[in-house]
């Protein structure tokens, strides 16, 4: 296994105007592992996640200091192609957001705009299989994606992200809008995907973090409402014997 982290965050600070949302976060995300980021509301979990593929660039007045290295290369250097970064680091959001297009066109969207020369039919089938959705939709590829169930829509979004062959998949509360069965399917999917992808998941569901992740990062809110990293380590240790008293109180439901 490579010793270079998939993502290496070094002394990261993120501001929205004068408000500091993230303070001095340093963190290494190892490849082919599921890393969870947990913490109370407003601690900057999603902001931190979005910094991994420069999604915060889309937010007016957002400012980033520090470094985020993708396999050793800084993604915030001036000459970096942001579109390429976002292709290499895909993202799945809280609410399933398929395009109002067919199932096929949703998955084919990324490869098309990237000018992929691969057979689109094969790409779509492979992505849908990886997202554990193929068997359910192979006969309805021309159907409008918005007619799928919520759980199917979310797996379609995962397939859409996988179709451009990313290296890393970021997931921001991917199950919060889903029922327990659909949630279970997504969690099984996450576990199976880590063989080929590095996955970072933000969740406010601590049991979900405990179920699916190998590593857990615990974010907390400081006195000035800035988010900071309180603890990082193996999920097993964090959930059985956390070292930080703030982590202990938070995961036991004493604060937050």
């Amino acid at each position: 296994m490579s010793t270079i982290p998939a993502i290496d965050v070094q002394d990261l600070n993120i501001y929205y105007d004068k408000f500091q949302a993230i303070k001095s976060v340093s963190l290494k995300i190892p490849p082919n592992q599921v890393s969870a980021i947990i913490g109370p509301s407003g601690c900057g979990k999603s902001t931190l996640l979005r910094s991994f593929n420069r999604m915060n660039d889309l937010i007016p007045n957002a400012r980033t200091q520090g470094k985020v290295l993708l396999k050793g290369e800084s993604i915030y250097d001036g000459d970096v192609d942001v579109t390429d970064i976002r292709r290499r680091i895909g993202m799945v959001f809280q609410k399933p957001n398929p395009f109002p297009k067919s199932v096929f066109d949703n998955v084919a969207f990324g490869p098309r705009i990237n000018g992929s020369k691969r057979n689109l039919g094969e790409v779509v089938e492979q992505a849908l299989k990886q997202a554990a959705l193929w068997e359910e939709v192979k006969g309805i590829l021309k159907k409008n994606a918005l007619e799928l169930s919520g759980g199917q829509q979310q797996r379609l979004c995962i397939a859409r992200a996988l179709a451009v062959e990313p290296e890393i998949l970021l997931m921001d509360e991917p199950c919060s809008a889903l029922d327990p069965i659909a949630t279970s399917r997504i969690e099984e999917l996450i576990r199976s995907l880590k063989a080929n992808y590095t996955i970072v998941i933000v969740t406010h569901n601590m049991q979900q973090a405990a179920r699916v992740s190998d590593l857990t990062s615990v974010m907390m809110v400081g006195d000035s409402r800035e988010g900071y990293l309180a603890e990082h380590g193996s999920t097993k240790r964090i959930f059985t014997n956390p070292r930080d008293s703030r982590t202990e109180d938070y995961i036991r439901g004493k604060i937050g």
């Binding site: 601590m206 959930f239 995961i251």
Partner: protein, 213 residues
Amino acid sequence: MTRLLDIGLEKLRTMLLEMADLSETTVSTAIGLYSDQTNTPDEIFTRSEELRVLQDEISDLAVELLARFGPVASDLRHIKSYLEISYDLSRLGRYAYDISQVFGVFGDLSHCDTRAVEKSGKQAKKMIRVGIKAFMEADVDLAKTLRDMDNVVDNLYLEHVKKIAKEPGAGTDLRCTVAATLILRYIERIADHATYIGESVLYIMTGKRAVRT
């Protein structure tokens, strides 16, 4: 605000302390049969069964709390340890019954040399009290003293066995020798379980497992 889980944890703790009281008196009564045979093995068996029933109740509640609340961190360590300590206390009852059965089989042993058994029994009863106190007060340092106390009980049993091995016919009364061997062995196991209670206290408070040598 009290968490719903805390209500369950407090209930578990109360049940465990009830078990601790019962196991301590049951062991004490069984060892006391040397000099006082007012109590019968049947009565001690009844108490050991009560301990087993309490252990089942603790196990049921612990599983319910796991299913309902998905406890983590020190909550999870407490529940895991409550399960283990309830098993230890239940075993104390069972060994007390085993001791009582020795008297049931051999009858009156008041003429035997009881010094080793009395010394070992006294130490084991002290260990039970220390284990329970360490648990109640979450006192890791006190819990750690159990290891050395256990060595005393181990050595008393070992010396007795070595003595028999060296001079098989040295005892004036074979009944006394066999009874003492059995009882010392049961007390040695009781002391082990008291030591395990101390190890659970260490685990609850630090998350670390004691290394057994």
